[in-house]
């Protein structure tokens, strides 16, 4: 087996109205960009506006029987360009380079996401034949609503152990919040997950950033079940949150709650002083329902940030991801749909900033409903953040 020292990747996009056309055009551009080299992995991002199986079929027609994964998104970023939500297909075709890719999927996930994570990780690892390379990472794409994604990360982590980082994103649907899907081979899977087990000779580095700043004082969550916060500091969670909004409370008079809460997420304080962001998705009585679990006893702070604050972390993210990797072929980026919403007029900036920082490296990203970035410990699910892995 000849192991290439450099991975060659190419991307293509299309915003054609027809799924087949869009899929074919994006795939053709990506595959042709390899200049005749056979792709070892194809990643497909698509808007939910298409008949997804048509899109996937067209991509497969062009790329052939290549390990293919992907998901629905809330917009894409490809080679410095922003493909806004609503219409668009983006395809990455990549050679193996120094890596090996194994893919697997789980469908019909029940309540036990932990077990589904174990099954997915084991299946993905098993799909790689032959001797294993010393280092590994998992690319995880999920299509589940209202589930504790952290539980799935926990399941994956049981299999991978401490030394295999996890990167990826939860599928979006152009902020419609109706149905999301992931792709595996020819299959379009809703309520499932797909993973790529990636092995290589060097350690993999998953980088995550968010750019949010604390705007209030630290608070102790005194009542929560999973992603539902009932009490903060012994008081009803909603009341405390509204107090912490300060002047933004007035926005609630003219704007929907989610529009306001998306710009004022919770920061979950971590032992090392960092924060993991949890967006408040909805109100339920006096409780706050967040986009990820907030354990009881945790310390949280209400955060805030301008578009500039959020975009400021992007160059650093890209650089940190690429740091120390010679001849990187591609930079995979997963940014939150919440961030995109907060970018306002600068909505296209993130794609450009990523590409600017990546230089010649092919950049390929999408906007998601949650980002996977596990590097330390068990925690690996983030929201309103951006995460990246360079190959």
């Amino acid at each position: 087996m000849t192991v290439q020292t450099c991975l060659r990747a190419a991307v293509g996009t299309s915003q054609a109205d027809d799924g087949t056309q869009a899929g074919r055009a994006a795939a053709t551009a990506a595959v042709e960009g390899l200049h005749g080299e056979r792709p070892a992995l194809v990643i497909v991002y698509a808007s939910v506006c298409y008949e997804l199986s048509t899109v996937l079929g067209a991509v497969r027609d062009v790329a052939g029987e290549v390990p293919t994964v992907g998901e629905t998104t809330c917009g894409q970023m490809v080679d410095g360009s922003f493909v806004p939500p609503g219409r668009g297909v983006a395809v990455l075709a990549t050679t193996a380079g120094p890596y090996r890719f194994g893919t697997a999927a789980v469908s019909t996930i029940g309540a036990d996401l932990d077990a589904a994570g174990v099954e997915l990780a084991q299946a993905a690892q098993r799909s790689l034949d032959g001797p294993h390379l010393p280092h590994a990472a998992i690319l995880l794409l999920t299509a589940t609503f209202g589930c504790d994604h952290q539980e799935m990360v926990r399941g994956l982590h049981r299999v991978t152990g401490a030394c295999v980082p996890i990167v990826g994103g939860a599928a979006g649907d152009d902020l419609r919040f109706r149905e999301v899907s992931v792709f595996h081979g020819d299959e379009v899977i809703s309520n499932g997950a797909v993973a790529v087990w990636i092995e290589g000779e060097r350690p993999f580095r998953v980088v995550t950033r968010h750019g949010w700043r604390p705007t209030g004082r630290p608070l102790i969550v005194t009542g929560s079940q999973g992603a539902r916060i009932t009490e903060i500091g012994g008081r009803p969670a909603m009341a405390v949150y509204l107090e912490q909004l300060g002047a933004d409370v007035e926005r609630l008079e003219s704007e929907p709650f989610f529009t306001v809460s998306m710009s004022r997420p919770f920061g979950l304080l971590q032992p090392d002083g960092s924060t993991v962001i949890r967006v408040i998705g909805e109100l339920d009585g006096d409780s706050l329902v967040t986009t990820g679990p907030v354990p009881e006893g945790s310390a949280v702070q209400v955060m805030g940030g301008s578009a500039d604050d959020l975009l400021a972390v992007v160059p650093d993210l890209a650089r940190a991801a690429l740091e120390g990797i010679e001849s990187a072929g591609a930079l995979l980026v997963f940014s939150c749909g919440v961030r995109q919403t907060n970018f306002g007029p600068q909505v296209a900036s993130e794609a450009r900033l990523v590409q600017d920082a990546a230089g010649d490296v092919v950049t390929f990203g999408c906007y998601t409903y949650g980002e996977f970035a596990r590097t330390r410990g068990v925690l690996g699910f983030h929201t309103a953040s951006v995460t990246a892995l360079a190959l």
Binding site: Q122, R154, I220, D272, P295
Partner: protein, 905 residues
């Protein structure tokens, strides 16, 4: 300090204050997070997983491991966060030597460059863990396990972190111990149920020791008993480590002392008490829990730990004591159940007997409420057995029966313990029946009455049969009229009564003038119809108190009491004659049958026989006078009676003049129609009157004493002829000849010798001769008859009871007399096709077979009768249908043919 410098200083101080407050917040957050997790009501395994995941998160640990201390397996890896799941690591691969060391020291051990430290396990080294902290987790009395947190980066565990971790480990230990305690209690409850479910003593002990070993984290468990001599023995044993079960007994020693300590619930012994049986020395510790039943220590449940030095904690002792107490209760239950089951088996056995016997059985409580009925009882009364439970016994009786005959019955039962009697019962539909019932007071082992048992059977049929037989004894079965015997009684009674009333008695003797013609032309059925019709008309024409009797054939007698004069009697006779003049319907034909009537008047002092004889003479005179006449006896008729004297003279010469004949009527096996023997029947070939039938001369022979010589002659002749058949025709040896005996014959001295001589002279085997006696013969001299029959039986001759059912039909003599064969009277066979007659014959056949007596039906004349008899299982039959009585000459070719065809079998 410039204002700028001052501002910068203040900012630094502010930042430091913020940093410090954040640090403090993080520390407190760590504790609150852990406390929250520890309070979650989840299973131990889930709890440990969440605790370690939280620690991993709170302390930025790439590896978070929990190794649990177990009594039997040492350290067991329960949580391995951060270790690749696909890798297979033993607890040692994870623990290395540091886990044990941490437990021994009881304080944290921190390792730098863990990936290069040989004290660390292979799993830790391979993962590239840089900093590793091992922390012991203690319960109140023992170490519960050990925690390891590892970091793959260069950040060491700070002293402040370790301080927090030590605190956390204390909390974790307490929570784990609580959870293990809850789990132990849950397991205890489950084990209690499982033990309680065992209702067999041995199974319970086996299950208990199996559960005890698991429950108490022991390597083995046993139930040990100590006998009065201080010897201990293992009654049940289970071990989680391989090895033979202890057997035999040993001096109980310290174990005996422990068990003798009052109030002791659990005690830890150094050593294993039963191990020195195998010479093993018994290293380890044993938890001894006395087993008490009824306040007495009956043994001990013992749990032994041999593979670990982990001591039995006070909590384990408490659990063990609770389990032993539960077990003792279950043991008592099992023993009780065993006794009850034995009793129940016995009860079931008795109940099955009660259910399957034909006898009806009902059991009540002392208040008379039904607690048990067998199906026979329910059936007998028309109920379902289940409906009767809890009912009062009174539902089986009418109010009259309940307050009448049952009251003395029950009083007698309560007084003497048992009572027997014939009691009226009532069915569900209100119909009543008689039952022979025995009531017994049911008592428990202390003789305390606990209820009453009644067994009964329906005697309605038996009573009916008895009544029918009694009726039969005094009535003519064909017509239902009074027979000769009852007529004689009534006549005597009537004559006796004359003295009191002064009125006279009239006897009207009548016979039908054309009866023989009807019989011959229309058949016996028509004859019977005619006789029944005549009987009916006679009944209609007489007063209620008068007696109408049939003496046999077409002879009827009407007894009229309270007659003023002969004229009264004559008028009555005329009424009779008139009523008989109307045509009869017989077998579908119109028949005219006039009657001749003889009338005799009886006065005070008249003899009944004489009066009948006179009426008979008057009848004879009427017939001679041209039939359909009425003749009143007067002295002029006396000469008629004298003709009998002439006949007597002729009879005396009949033997010598060889005028007597023996005819032989075949006796056939009904089942297959085979010829089995013959009945010898006497005939008199009278030179003037032609062939006379027995009825025409035997009464005279009896009366004049000629019967003895005639009887002897028949006996000798029949034996001779039968012997000739045996000799000449080679018939089957079982072929027999049956000879009728008169009462006088039977009671004559030397009769048995006469029989013996006849047999010898013939010569005939005794079993080939059957002697038929009538019921009268038995009744006349019971003792003598019994003696003679006994001698005849010893001789080998078979005895038949003739005309059974025609006389008194006392069932008892069938059992007490040596009878081989019962011959059912023709009168019953005639009634076979009627339901009541059928029932009588069926009962008689069953009775005969019950007494192991062969049954012969006489007078079979129709195929229907034969078929019914076959269905009833009657053994033999004779009658016109099967063969009339024929002469010796006529029998010979018949027998020869049978012999040629394979013999008479």
């Amino acid at each position: 300090m410039t204002p700028e410098e001052r501002i910068a200083q203040l900012e630094r101080e502010r930042d430091e204050a913020i940093r410090s407050s954040q640090e403090a917040l993080r520390a407190s957050t760590r504790l609150s997070r852990l406390l929250t997790v520890l309070q979650e009501p989840v299973h131990v395994e889930v709890l440990l997983d969440r605790v370690m995941a939280t620690l991993s998160e709170l302390f930025l640990a790439d590896v978070a491991v929990f190794l649990l201390s177990t009594a039997r397996h040492g350290l067991e890896a329960k949580v391995l966060i951060g270790l690749p799941g696909a890798a297979t690591y033993s607890p040692t691969d994870v623990a290395g030597s540091l886990a044990g060391e941490t437990l021994e020291r009881g304080t944290p051990i921190v390792v730098r460059e863990a990936d290069r430290d040989p004290r660390c396990g292979r799993a830790i080294r391979e993962l590239g863990v840089e900093h590793l902290a091992w922390l012991p987790v203690h319960g109140e009395e023992t170490a519960l396990g050990v925690i390891a947190l590892g970091r793959c980066d260069s950040a060491p565990f700070k002293a402040s972190e370790l301080d927090i971790l030590v605190t956390m480990c204390r909390w974790i230990g307490a929570a784990l111990e609580r959870r293990q305690h809850s789990l132990a209690l849950e397991r205890l409850a489950g084990a209690g149920h499982e033990v309680a479910a065992q209702l067999d003593h041995a199974s319970l002990l086996a299950e208990a020791v199996r559960l005890a070993a698991t429950l108490l984290d022991a390597d083995s468990a046993a139930v040990v008993t100590v006998d009065g001599d201080g010897m201990a023995a293992v009654e049940a044993y289970d071990s989680l480590v391989p090895g033979p079960a202890p057997a035999g007994a040993w001096p109980a020693g310290i174990l005996g002392e422990v068990l003798g300590t009052p109030g002791l619930r659990a005690h830890v012994l150094g050593g294993i008490p039963w191990q020195h049986l195998g010479g093993g020395g018994g290293s380890g510790t044993t938890l001894v829990m006395p087993l008490s039943q009824g306040g007495e220590t009956v043994g001990a449940l013992c749990a032994a730990r041999t593979s670990t030095l982990l001591p039995f904690t006070s909590e384990t002792m408490r659990i063990g004591a609770l389990f032993a107490a539960q077990m003792a209760v279950s043991l008592s239950n099992a023993d009780l159940y065993g006794r009850l089951r034995a009793e129940a088996d016995q009860l079931r056995f008795l109940s099955r007997i009660a259910e399957q016997v034909g006898e009806s059985v009902v059991v009540t409580d002392p208040q008379g409420m039904v607690t048990f009925v067998n199906p026979a009882h329910a059936r007998l009364h028309g109920y379902d057995a289940d409906d009767l439970l809890g009912s009062s016994l009174s539902i089986f009786h009418t109010e009259e029966q309940w307050h009448g005959e049952l009251t003395p019955f029950r009083e007698a039962m309560l007084r003497t313990g048992t009572s027997t009697g014939e009691i009226g019962h009532m069915r569900r539909d209100g119909s009543v029946f008689q039952a022979e019932m025995t009531g017994t007071v049911l008592t428990d082992e202390t003789e305390t009455p606990i209820g009453h048992v009644y067994s009964l059977h329906d005697v309605t049929e038996r009573n009916q049969l008895a009544a029918q037989l009694a009726h039969q004894a005094f009535h003519d079965p064909l017509t239902g009229l009074v027979n000769r015997a009852l007529l004689s009684q009534r006549l005597e009674h009537a004559l006796d009564s004359i003295g009191r009333t002064g009125l006279r008695v009239a006897v009207l003797f009548l016979d039908l003038d054309r009866f023989k013609t009807v019989n011959d032309s229309l058949g016996h059925g028509a004859g019977d119809d005619l006789l029944r019709e005549v009987a009916g008309r006679l009944r209609q024409v007489v007063r209620p108190g008068d007696t109408v009797a049939r003496l046999g054939g077409d002879e009827f007698v009407v007894l009229l009491e309270d007659m003023d004069s002969t004229d009264d009697a004559q008028r009555a006779a005329q009424r009779i004659a008139a009523v008989l003049r109307s045509p009869f319907q017989a077998a579908g034909s119109e028949v005219f049958a006039t009657a001749s009537i003889g009338v005799a008047m009886g006065d005070r002092g008249s003899e009944a026989d004489e009066l009948l004889s006179r009426a008979d003479a008057a009848l004879y005179a009427a017939k001679r006078g041209g039939r359909n006449r009425i003749e009143v006896f007067d002295d002029s008729l006396e000469p008629c009676r004298r003709s009998d004297i002439a006949l007597e003279v002729d009879l005396r010469h009949a033997i010598a003049r060889q005028q007597l004949r023996v005819h032989y009527q075949p006796i056939v096996e009904i089942r297959d129609g085979r010829l089995r023997g013959f009945e010898a029947l006497i005939r008199w070939q009278h030179p003037a009157h032609g062939l006379l039938m027995p009825a025409q001369f035997l009464p005279l022979a009896e009366e004049t004493g000629l019967m003895l010589s005639i009887g002897d002659w028949i006996l000798t002749e029949a034996c001779r002829v039968a012997a000739r058949w045996q000799r000449d025709l080679v018939v089957d040896a079982s072929c027999f000849v049956s000879v009728n005996l008169s009462v006088k014959q039977l009671h004559r001295a030397g009769f048995v010798d006469t029989v013996r001589t006849a047999l010898t002279q013939a010569p005939l085997r005794p079993d080939q001769l059957m002697l038929e006696i009538t019921e009268d013969a038995i009744l006349e001299s019971r003792e003598a008859t019994l003696r003679v029959l006994g001698e005849l039986r010893r001789l080998g001759v078979r005895i038949a009871i003739d005309d059974f059912g025609a006389g008194y039909s006392n069932l008892t003599y069938l059992t007490s007399f040596p009878i081989d064969v019962m011959k059912i009277d023709k009168a019953f066979v005639d009634l076979l096709e009627r339901s009541d007659g059928h029932a009588v014959v069926a009962a008689l056949v069953t009775l005969g077979h019950t007494l192991q007596v062969e049954v012969v039906a006489e007078g079979i004349e129709r195929p229907e009768q034969l078929e019914l008899l076959r269905q009833l299982g009657c053994d033999f039959g004779q009658g016109f249908l099967l063969g009339r009585g024929v002469s010796e000459d006529a029998v010979t070719p018949l027998l020869a043919a049978v012999a040629l065809a394979g013999g008479v079998r």
